[in-house]
Assembly symmetry: C2
């Protein structure tokens, strides 16, 4: 996730807190080098720290002190980074943020084990924040739910690639866990540390979940057209056969519409069967997505989720942190424009 610059000023102090604490936290873990060098490498790559910022802001938005949530916010970033390292092995990805992935730069065994230890590091940091929470075990509980659901989501994503009968609705079930849950966990943990009441915590979680769903859907839309800025080829997901809502919904519409062309039916059948679509198919698929109204429908879904996410924020008391949560969300979503 990348942030537009215009909104980042109010968030800069939070990022600074996070980076300082991150350097300190990682410094406790140096040896064995073969285990921790990859961890340091991963964090040297930087990043916008969206999830840790969410944790700090959620904590403040319910009346807590951001400093108390700093170690937990780093725990969340470790959890997120752990999922990236292991996902990159599973997806055989060679690059991440323009640098070699850990399993490529070192090897698969190192990537497995360095990912694993990051879970332990994360738990230890989490505890430093949990002791400030009125109900400390809620913090750990939210973390464990995040971990379980992210694994569920990744498993569903892999399973979908092997199935020819995935329904468009199943896509939401998958990204809710794989993408949105970690954002939800980020605010849930911040809220617990800040001593939130259940309603505020629910509102924050709805905000994070819906921004997560909107963001992922929009990411899928952007992927269709590609992005020079983000170095992404046009139709990358299409060529990879990814089970995005766009493609699943398009197949549904093609299969059910009486006016669908033979060619559309042929392409839908290829996709369903997991037969590879190539770069040559991408333009045809884009036309097909437009003609069947899928791109418009997807844009509406993004707008609906984004609107609903902002609405959830309104049930929180007015505060600078609440405004910053809005800023953070809109900077994430600005990538459409």
């Amino acid at each position: 996730m990348s942030l537009h610059d215009s909104h980042t000023d109010t968030l800069a102090p939070y990022r600074a807190m996070i980076e300082t604490a991150l350097v300190q936290a990682l410094d406790e873990f140096r040896e064995p080098h073969c285990l921790y060098d990859p961890v340091h490498y991963l964090f040297e790559a930087g990043g916008k720290r969206v999830r840790p910022v969410l944790t700090l802001l959620a904590c403040e938005a319910v009346g807590g002190r951001a400093e108390h949530a700093v170690p937990a916010s780093i725990a969340i970033e470790l959890l997120h980074t752990f999922t990236l390292v292991h996902d990159d092995i599973m997806d055989s990805s060679m690059k991440r943020r323009g640098r070699d992935t850990v399993h490529r730069k070192w090897n698969t065994n190192t990537a497995i084990l360095s990912g694993d230890v990051m879970m332990g590091m994360a738990m230890r940091l989490l505890l430093r924040s949990a002791e400030h929470a009125p109900r400390p075990l809620d913090v750990v509980d939210a973390f464990s739910t995040g971990l379980i659901d992210v694994c569920d989501g990744q498993a569903l994503d892999m399973e979908f690639m092997l199935r020819s009968d995935v329904k468009a609705d199943e896509y939401f079930m998958m990204i809710e866990r794989k993408t949105a849950r970690l954002l939800e966990t980020s605010v849930a943990i911040g809220a617990s540390i800040g001593g939130s009441d259940p309603d505020q915590r629910d509102a924050l979680q709805r905000f994070a979940r819906e921004i997560g769903l909107a963001f992922q859907m929009q990411d899928d839309i952007l992927d269709v057209y590609g992005s020079e800025k983000f170095g992404k080829a046009r139709g990358g997901d299409i060529i990879e056969g990814k089970r995005t809502w766009l493609m699943l919904e398009c197949c549904d519409r093609v299969e059910n519409a009486p006016h669908s062309s033979e060619r559309d039916r042929q392409i839908a059948a290829m996709f369903r069967a997991g037969r590879p679509l190539t770069a040559e198919h991408v333009d045809e698929v884009i036309v097909m997505l437009d003609r069947h109204g899928v791109m418009d429908a997807a844009t509406s879904i993004v707008e609906r989720y984004t609107h609903s996410a902002y609405e959830a924020l309104l049930s929180l008391p007015t505060s600078a942190s609440r405004d910053r949560l809005h800023d953070l969300a809109s900077s994430l979503m600005e990538r459409t424009h």
Copy 2:
């Protein structure tokens, strides 16, 4: 780890509690099947549940109720099993307890992800016990230390295989983390749930650590001679080039003794350089280990650690659970005879 039958009667009720709770706990995790089927498969294989039994006994030995520690004891077994699944990938092991390993029966991606989710499952179960502890976060802290140190130990083990200058003492540093720490974590968690004072907890940890070291050293000794009962070939570790204390100490002695034969020096140099020793070398190596007094020294070390472990137990108040901890340890160590 396997237990001799003669001591298991007093432990059977604990194992029964564990098995019942394990079935219930796993039943909450069914879908996605591609994620949880391997987890069920792993636990269907059974096992002596040494670590969970340690947790329950430690809890009782400090005056707590074993029922309170049951979920945590399953968390420990999940942590242990998670390390086995990932270690089996790293070691390319094809069999575990006579059955196909997960990465062989399914695939590496499934084995990575199923291992990962077991951490989340473990954390969730841990919390159910932690709420009974006077200091709940101590329970989570002990767990995170266990996870970190087991990863450290596995990393050191892998690193040792690539180094020609490993010292005999470094072996203890490695197995203390890779093998002993999880036993230590098992009792530390039980003690915390039972409301232990720091001295009792320290005594239990010393007991578990020293039994762990004794057990691993003895396992290394048994490996040299092989075991029909456990289906282990003679000198398996020697052929694999494992950096056991036996081999490291033997190399030290060979290199430093003026009377060492050329052949002994040659074999030591091959081992140091990581050049493969074959089944044909095993008999020669066994003679060498004996001639340089390494087997006798190793047996003394096992005895010293075992004795010291039992001594640690004596600082706990007399109780049936304390006796059962002794039983559990001696059943583990009976494999020598």
